[in-house]
Amino acid sequence: MGEAIAFYTIAAFVLGFAVLVVSTKDTVHSVLFLVLDFLFVAALYVLLGAEFLAAIQVLVYAGGIVVLYLFVVMLVNLKGLPEEHRDPHRRTKLGLGLAAAVLVELGAIFASGYARPVPQVAEAAIPVVGNTEEVGWLLYTNYLIPFEIVSMLLLVAMIGAIVLAKREL
């Protein structure tokens, strides 16, 4: 029972902050709401039993990526103006309407029950206990190739970001 209360509270916060992120006019406030959002999502992960992922979420997402966003926002905000409120090109009502429609459809799908029997994945015996160890074990045995590819991806992204941001080459 307590878990359900916790879940709904955290979920409400997550959604609330997300709405604030996309609707605030001031960019810096938007970024701050994003950080708070990520922290609450990390709390959600802890509730769902994924402690390693929660710590990673705070470390990488909230602590790294959003800091990056904040930097860029500050560098851009030094001169820029906030966007105009009455933008003729923006079709707010249409966007909201479409989103609401898709949301209703998704809700209908879930509510009607994806009641097909859930395929039981053959649980290979993982000889370690503890959440982090399980993730690590899977990463290094079954999913080694994606792991290596992702590290290559990160390397390429690093080099790309440095090249893009240099003033002269």
């Binding site: 992120v21 996309v22 560098l75 898709v102 970001a161």
Partner: protein, 93 residues
């Protein structure tokens, strides 16, 4: 599950409606987070850790994409002095 769908939709609205490039990027991050929540929820329900493994990958990819995207925004800003997406029409005929 409904939570991640709702979060996803909010992110999509953000991407479609806002004009500021940076906020668009942040909405993309919101979408990715929604996907992650979905993965973790499935992982906890089916008691198999592979969902979390995939979520770790998604986080890593999101980090890479954020870095490169922000680099692009910075490079663009140096040229055009704006982050309004309407003015980024270099590829239009």
């Amino acid at each position: 599950m409904l939570l991640s769908a709702a979060l996803f939709m909010i992110g999509v609205v953000g991407v479609l409606v806002r004009r500021n490039m940076i906020i668009i990027f942040m909405s993309i991050e919101l979408i990715l987070n929604a996907v992650n929540i979905n993965l973790v929820a499935f992982s906890s329900q089916l008691q198999h850790t592979v969902g979390q493994v995939f979520a770790v990958f998604v986080v890593a990819v999101a980090a890479a994409e954020a870095a490169v995207g922000l680099g692009i925004i910075l490079a663009f800003y140096r040229n055009r002095e704006t982050v309004n997406i309407d003015e980024m029409n270099l590829m239009r005929w």
